[in-house]
Symmetry: C2
Subunit: 301 residues, 2 copies
């Protein structure tokens, strides 16, 4: 028996495995994606395919939005496609894309004005966690709505209610601040180890056992040591995140020097041709600045 009807708008790298987990948990799922091919394998697992966002959401108790950016969410929900207007009164709208805090608050207000429930619920953990159903889900919104949405969200990961509407988006920006800064710190650490004559792989191994342990040292540290900069998370998206976090910091009248520095370094990485490399390629930018970029590097000097 169906546990409820869920529409998923956006079945890309993240949205597709999230929809698959909703199907596996027993929800009746209808998906819509801009490019049709991406939704195909979900149909074979039992998902309904809708030709437009409005048709996908018309019958849904819950609508999950996992599109590429705040403006795209805005356009699909309240612009060209006007999907929000097609939702049932009292249905739950959950935007899980990483969007700005003010974007989230503005969408929440628009949703509330036409009688929809709202949650901003961005995630951390990337495609592996999306596939495993172990995403970290940061939720902003009313407590009653978080409770109501809990069965749906729990099918995709671990739910933490952060605070009112917009604070889920804020938590994700804070997450990105921390990820970007830690990548910079890990890059400096491994460069110092390498230049000092230590084996960076051994230093990483030792440091993972102590206070310096971080998921970034574990995962991105390994990428740096293997010189494997296939994305993963492309550097150009990391810059989008540091700029969004800086904007919020400015609105909050906060000077956050590590965030500023991370933004400067990632921007420079992109400016020197590293935008499509994994964000761990910040290590190469650090080498470039220190005049030790190897010949044939993916980065321009």
């Amino acid at each position: 028996m169906s546990r409820g009807k869920v529409a998923v708008l956006g079945t890309g790298l993240m949205g597709a495995p999230m929809a698959a987990n909703l199907l596996a948990a027993g929800f009746e799922v209808t998906v819509w994606n801009r490019s049709k091919e991406k939704a195909g394998s979900l149909a074979s697992r039992g998902a309904g395919l809708a030709g437009t966002p409005a048709r996908a959401v018309a019958d849904a108790d819950t609508v999950i939005v996992m599109l590429s950016s705040g403006p795209v969410c805005e356009e699909v929900l309240f612009g060209e496609h006007d999907a929000a207007a097609a939702m049932r009164k009292g249905a739950m709208l959950i935007v899980m894309s990483s969007i700005g805090m003010e974007e989230a608050q503005s969408l929440a207000a628009k949703a509330g004005a036409i009688g929809l429930r709202w949650l901003d619920a961005p995630v951390s953990g990337g495609t592996p966690a999306a596939a495993a159903g172990t995403l970290s889900i940061m939720v902003g919104g009313e407590i009653d709505d978080v409770r109501k949405a809990n069965p749906v969200l729990s099918a995709m990961g671990r739910v933490v209610h952060i605070g009112p509407a917009g604070t889920g988006a804020l938590a994700k920006l804070v997450n990105q601040l921390l990820v970007a800064s830690t990548i910079v710190a890990v890059s400096e650490a491994l460069l110092m180890a390498e230049k000092g004559g230590a084996d960076p792989a051994k230093v990483r191994e030792a440091l993972l056992g102590g206070f310096a342990f971080s998921r970034i040292l574990e995962l991105h540290g390994q990428r740096i040591i293997s010189a494997n900069f296939e994305p993963g998370g492309p550097a150009k998206y990391q810059v989008k995140d540091t700029k969004a976090a800086l904007e919020v910091a400015e609105k909050l009248d906060l000077d956050l020097p590590v965030l500023r520095l991370a933004d400067e370094l990632f921007s420079s990485l992109v400016d020197h041709g590293g935008g499509d490399l994994d964000h761990s390629a910040l290590f190469l930018e650090l080498k470039r600045r220190n005049g030790v970029l190897p010949a044939g590097s993916a980065l321009r000097n």
Copy 2:
């Protein structure tokens, strides 16, 4: 039956539990400490107490040094106390204090010149890991000596051989660079969360589930949220570490901007009265700079 004779010079907060683990592992342990009281409880567990460093080491296969700084190690081993000269030829000298890379290399050369084996083997994990025997031990020295010392070191933690003499000390500085930088990043993250109207405790909880996980977010994040700045690791020692790391970076002709920034921020924390607070009090320094230090704070404005 004894597995071998080990002398431990320095039985302070770290050295005492390390010596206790050596006793528990079946080594015959003789200890020396500048202030006698600290060695007392080890005697009740079967350790021999020596009145001078020279008497402690005279009969030992392995000498563990866990004194407060490089200069103190130098003084006890080759200065006033001249303990190294009292060691048997071919015995193993293991300095586990956190000392500079050049200090380690200089001590290694002096030890080698009088026929001693040498390892620099600083640790990470603090007093809880010292008590549990789960320290992360970063070892610089010859591979044969690392193998020979492995039973002794393994009684205290997890051993990783980094490279030649001095690279254990280097790895510890790299560790401290990473710890200091991550504390700054976590402080910025939690301040942004707080100022933005989110519950920092909830943000920490959510972020621990994703890519932003770090031991620092887990432990020091909790200290920040509880406003508990009892040390732990006092900020004044963190500054000692960032300065030592900066010195090595300079010698290696490396510009490491996050390390520079962390040094500046921790120095300012100490300058404003936070030297004896836990290093997680960097959060207060960040508040001070942003004009949101609460009245009655432990820090001067």
